[in-house]
Amino acid sequence: MPAMAAPMIAVFALQFEGCAYQPPAGDQTCLGYLDGCRTQSRWQTTAAAPTELVIEEPLLQDPAETPLASRPFRPRGKVSKEQLPSPRTAEADKSAKLAALRSRLSLHQRFPLQTLARTLVHPSADPNPAFNNASLSMLGSNLLGYYTTEYLLSHYPRLPMPVMFAAVEAYIGPRALATVASEWGIEAAAEPGGEVDPGLLQFRRLRSGEDPPSPAKRKGPYKWNITTTHKILQSDEFGSATRPPAAQELARLPIPLEEAAQSFVRALIGGLHLHLGAPLVKRFFRDHFLSRHLDLSTLFDFRTPTRDLSRLCAREGFEAPVARLISETGRLSRHPVFVVGVYSGKDKLGEGAGSSLDESRFRAAAAALKGWYLYRPLEVTVPSSTEGGLNATRWKPNMIDCGEVIV
């Protein structure tokens, strides 16, 4: 890793010299913002690159073999900024937006702005895999899934699978990631291109009111008979029945903003992992994702809680649950209140209040089930904490539950 100087993001000296209009950094409409054509080969990898180093772009495939439609657009020779699909790598050091974004997210100075700029380029803007964020996004998606599921599985070992999928989706699902990106203050470019500030999210915009093109839509079910086992083994980390389109399929297609914002967040995690290593990514994940508020008890949606509870008690060898009235008021009035407890022998499993005897009984059973399913062990070792040299902790086996009750 070459030593990198901190970028200068204070006021530019040239802004004091005369009255010449300096457009704000986000102003793409002003033509004075675009400087003239310059001959420069684009160079970009995930590693930090010195700007004076000029390397020819590697040719991935023989152009003669690939059909014209699938060959990525890659201008050669003298090209102006406007002809490029995404900004040059060298522009990243000059972008105040990128430097501000890195500081806003408290990222380490070792994380190069060039990679941060690359995470902002969606394949729909630049189909060339050497310049877009598709690969980083894939890595980041796996890391996010790993850290979230290991946290939930070890901290809530009895969580039913549907609730587990919903919890993972609440933390790192598509909507959650798009929200995270907007809360980080990500701005999107009106139209991608080489002349755009690299600190803006670049993707081909879907016009408002239009449907996304069919390749950009989610693909039909993997299988028609989808079981929980199938969701665990073959589906994604959210247990979805349908498959999102691969990044390559989105090349040059108009997509919604949320799609690009998600890919940015995932790619940022991937880039952080490559540059700073797993411990810092874990800290970043803890600070930005696990710190979000999610009340797991609100995710449950029981159909027949009383039947589930009696099956659970039978499975665990408890006495059969009995509902008893604890207190009541206004039985013959317009708004009665009953407080019902569910007891197994002498132990009270749960309690609920409702305006009818049945309603409060169901609530009590649901409270009892939540008390069982939301059990949280006191000491937990997540698998990823045993990775890495010095900071690694010793593995202590976690509790594993036999799973939710099957009715």
Binding site: C19, A100, E183, D295, F302, E328
Partner: protein, 137 residues
């Protein structure tokens, strides 16, 4: 299916894990000729570089706006913006306004009536007449 799940999104709690400064950009507009910009020009020359160095999270742009009063515009993460006209202000007063723009979250000022606002459930729970010691009449 004994239990199904409700899909939601976890809520952000800025400052609980990471803190994101809500001001993302400050635009400074000044005029070289007019007297009302004198303090602003002094601020841009003397204090703004230091301010920018202390607050690297904020993108700072400076641009002249001839024959107009000087103005500072703050852009926020929630998409809103706040403008403050700093005509005839001294360097220190301008700095005060800049810090005010930096520290706000971009939302409109609103009256806070309750001492505590929280998304967490109360630890003690809500009182109800059905539990605890019964009152004998």
């Amino acid at each position: 299916m004994p239990v199904s799940a409700i899909r939601t999104v976890a809520k952000a709690q800025n400052g609980v894990g990471a803190f994101i400064l809500q001001c993302k950009r400050l635009d400074f507009h000044y005029c070289d000729w007019a007297g009302s910009s004198r303090g602003m020009n002094a601020f841009i020359k003397s204090s703004l570089p230091k301010f920018a160095k202390r607050n690297p999270q904020i993108e700072i742009t400076v641009s002249p706006r001839p024959n107009k009063h000087p103005v500072i515009i703050g852009h926020y993460v929630n998409g809103k913006q706040k403008e403050i006209c700093v005509k005839n202000m001294t360097n220190e007063l301008v700095l005060g306004k800049v810090e005010l723009l930096r520290d706000t979250n971009g939302e409109k000022d609103k009256r806070v009536n309750k001492p505590v606002t929280s998304i967490n459930e109360s630890v003690r729970g809500i009182w109800d007449p059905f539990h605890g010691a019964k009152i004998k009449i």
